[in-house]
């Protein structure tokens, strides 16, 4: 019974799991296979058709760096990138092993000898770069949300503040990250001056640019969500004489949660798009820089490698959105909301 309850919860949050679980349980298998095929088959067919068109179109495009990469070339380059990263990891392990041996030998000779431990300074692999990008985008997005949600709640509560803030939000919302970037770069290099920097400047520049671009959807959606709380619920809160803070976290936040999540999802999507551009120009060692370096490199493999990056960027963006969706399903009370 308890297990059933967990399953129920799980399939509420991840509805696509339902037929799979039923199939595993052996519940009417032919029916479940049909459902899975209907759910998976059609998208799969779409993907196959896309690959065929892509391969056809790619072979017809000639560039100064050779033919436009088709699916086959992209696959080869992806495997290359995997190999390179494996080789790089092996090098790194070897480096630390050598260092440790040298240090041990030194200490054996003279127990008081000063031992230096140097970090490995090899090239970041493609997968390291994905990691950097994720860290940058998530830190920018979380920081932006921490700023945008409280401001959104406060301006949503007061029609006056809302009217005052709205033009500012509308003014900054459409600004391209490329316009912010030079300003952010200059400000970061002027303000962030320390001897022992915790973060690299390129990271800060990209992160702050992401932050500036993804503040607005969360802020405006939170404000609208808060402003449109049902009058009845506000009256309930008044009759109960809830304090300001209790009112916020018992009434205001729960009832505006669905709108807040719409904003957060928009913001995360924007954050990811902005990040690639910001990294390209700020030279933050992430996916954006990878694309830029490959472009500057201009080898016959470059276009294929860029195409790998394009697909990875798309896939990660998709996963981030699904992640937010799942989080929304877990946190929001409004399970009936049409979530896509």
């Amino acid at each position: 019974m308890h297990e059933g309850h967990i399953m129920q919860k799980l399939t509420n949050y991840l509805p696509w799991l339902k037929p799979v679980i039923k199939l595993v349980k052996g519940e009417n298998p032919t029916e479940q296979i049909k459902i899975i095929l209907a759910k998976v088959g059609t998208p799969l067919l779409g993907l196959v058709i896309f690959l065929i068109i892509w391969a056809g179109a790619a072979s017809a495009i000639d560039t100064s760096l050779g033919k436009f990469p088709g699916p086959g070339e992209v696959r080869t380059q992806f495997l290359n990138l995997l190999d390179e990263s494996k080789a790089e990891k092996e090098k790194e392990i070897a480096f630390y092993e050598r260092q440790q041996k040298r240090n041990e030998a030194k200490l054996a000779k003279d127990p008081n000898a000063k031992v230096k431990i140097r970090p490995y300074t090899g090239n970041p692999t493609f997968f390291d770069q994905i990691g950097t990008s994720l860290v940058t985008v998530l830190s920018g997005f979380i920081l932006a949300s921490l700023i945008a949600i409280p401001i959104g709640i406060i301006i949503g509560l007061s029609p006056g503040l809302y009217a005052a803030f709205n033009p500012i939000i509308q003014l900054f919302k459409p600004v391209s990250p490329l316009a912010w970037l030079p300003l952010v770069t200059m400000v970061v290099s002027a303000v962030y001056v320390t001897k022992d920097p915790m973060f690299s400047k390129s990271y800060l520049t990209s992160m702050i640019t992401v932050l500036l671009c993804c503040l607005w959807p969360t802020m405006i959606n939170t404000a609208v969500g808060v402003a449109s709380i049902s009058k009845d619920l506000i009256n309930v809160s008044k009759v109960l004489r809830l304090s300001w803070l209790t009112n916020i976290y018992k009434i205001v936040i729960p009832s505006s949660l669905p709108m807040m999540f719409t904003g957060l999802r928009l913001s995360l999507g924007i954050a990811w798009m902005v990040l690639i551009a910001a990294e390209m120009l700020a030279q933050n060692p992430g996916l954006g820089k990878f694309v830029w370096d490959e472009f500057q490199n201009g080898s016959s493999n470059s276009l294929g490698r860029i195409m790998v990056a394009v697909l990875v960027i798309g896939a990660i963006g998709f996963l981030l959105d699904r992640g937010m969706l799942t989080l929304q399903r877990v946190l929001s009370w409004d399970k009936t909301a049409d979530i896509r």
Partner: protein, 297 residues
């Protein structure tokens, strides 16, 4: 009759709503005294300001002139001693029935009841409205009648001095409404609550009330007549439906509503004067403010 201080007293209550054409007087000089334990119905055509009276007693609106005294103290803000049951239940959709009542109980009895006492009190009130079987259900999982029951439980759990009900059964089907009316009679007779209830339903008013307050049409609506209903309690709807006294009361209310105060919506377009048009506009504005759903387009 010796004059004690009434439980609730409305004195010269008038209210103006701002409109683009200047202030609109929705209520004019409403005077009403209510004794403890009385069940009062407010009846009148839509837009006559019934909800406005209730909202002023609740403290959600401030009277422009006059005021409300509850046990000799002026009402100037909303509070749990004047609990409101809203027309569309207004339960928090993200909380279960139990948690909805709990929110009220925690707020009202903070520091007065211990945790187990609170739990018992919440369950007791849900029992009163026969909702103990669905305590852990959320509003979207229960029917309209059940939601309204939970709404009533939440209001009762505040131990209000006076219970304000804004068309509590208006959105329910006839059978469910009858059930809830019976439940309400049962509860008020055992607890002795003072109740003000707004209704559109003549039968409901006669069946439940000690007095029926009939309001004139707006603008500047006020109390037209007050009808005392001296039917013996407990009242039985089936027996009463064949009772001449009951039908006499019914007749009196119907006469007031349909002969003395004709529904403003019945007027033909042609006979509309400018003044009436303006007042209609303003009453629409006031309806927006009271958040009433207008019955007639």
């Amino acid at each position: 009759m010796t004059h004690t201080v009434p439980h609730l007293e409305l004195t010269g209550v008038s209210i103006d709503f701002p409109t683009p054409n200047g202030p609109f007087r929705a209520l004019n000089k409403v005077n009403l005294k209510i004794e403890e334990g009385e069940f009062i119905s407010l009846i009148g055509h839509s837009g006559c300001g019934k909800s406005t009276v209730l909202n002023i007693v609740a403290g959600l609106y401030k009277a422009t002139e006059g005021g409300v005294l509850l046990d000799g103290k002026e009402v100037d803000e909303p509070g749990p001693e004047r609990a409101v049951v809203f027309q569309n239940h207004s339960l928090l959709p993200w909380l279960t029935a139990y948690e909805n009542v709990e929110l009220a109980v925690k707020q009202v009895f903070k520091g007065q009841k211990t945790k187990p006492e609170m739990k018992e009190w919440i369950e007791h009130n849900l029992n009163l409205v026969h909702m103990d079987h669905a305590m852990d259900k959320r509003p979207d999982e229960i029917s309209g009648g059940m939601k309204q029951r939970v709404g009533i439980a939440r209001a009762l759990a505040m131990e209000p001095k006076i219970l304000l009900m804004d068309e509590p059964f208006g959105a329910l089907d006839a059978l469910t409404r009858a059930h809830l009316q019976d439940s309400l009679m049962e509860i008020t007779s055992s607890l002795g609550n003072t109740v003000i209830m707004i209704t559109h339903d003549v039968d409901e008013a006669v069946l439940l009330s000690d007095r029926i307050v009939m309001m004139t049409n707006g603008p500047a609506a006020t109390i037209g007549e007050i009808l005392e209903v001296n039917l013996e309690r407990p009242r039985n709807r089936v027996e009463l439906s064949d009772d001449s006294e009951y039908n006499h009361y019914r007749h009196a209310v119907l006469q007031f509503l349909y002969e003395k105060q004709r529904n403003p919506d019945d007027k033909t377009e042609a006979s509309k004067t400018d003044k009436e048009e303006m007042s209609e506009e303003a009453s629409m504005a006031s309806e927006k403010l009271t958040d009433n759903k207008p019955e007639a387009a």
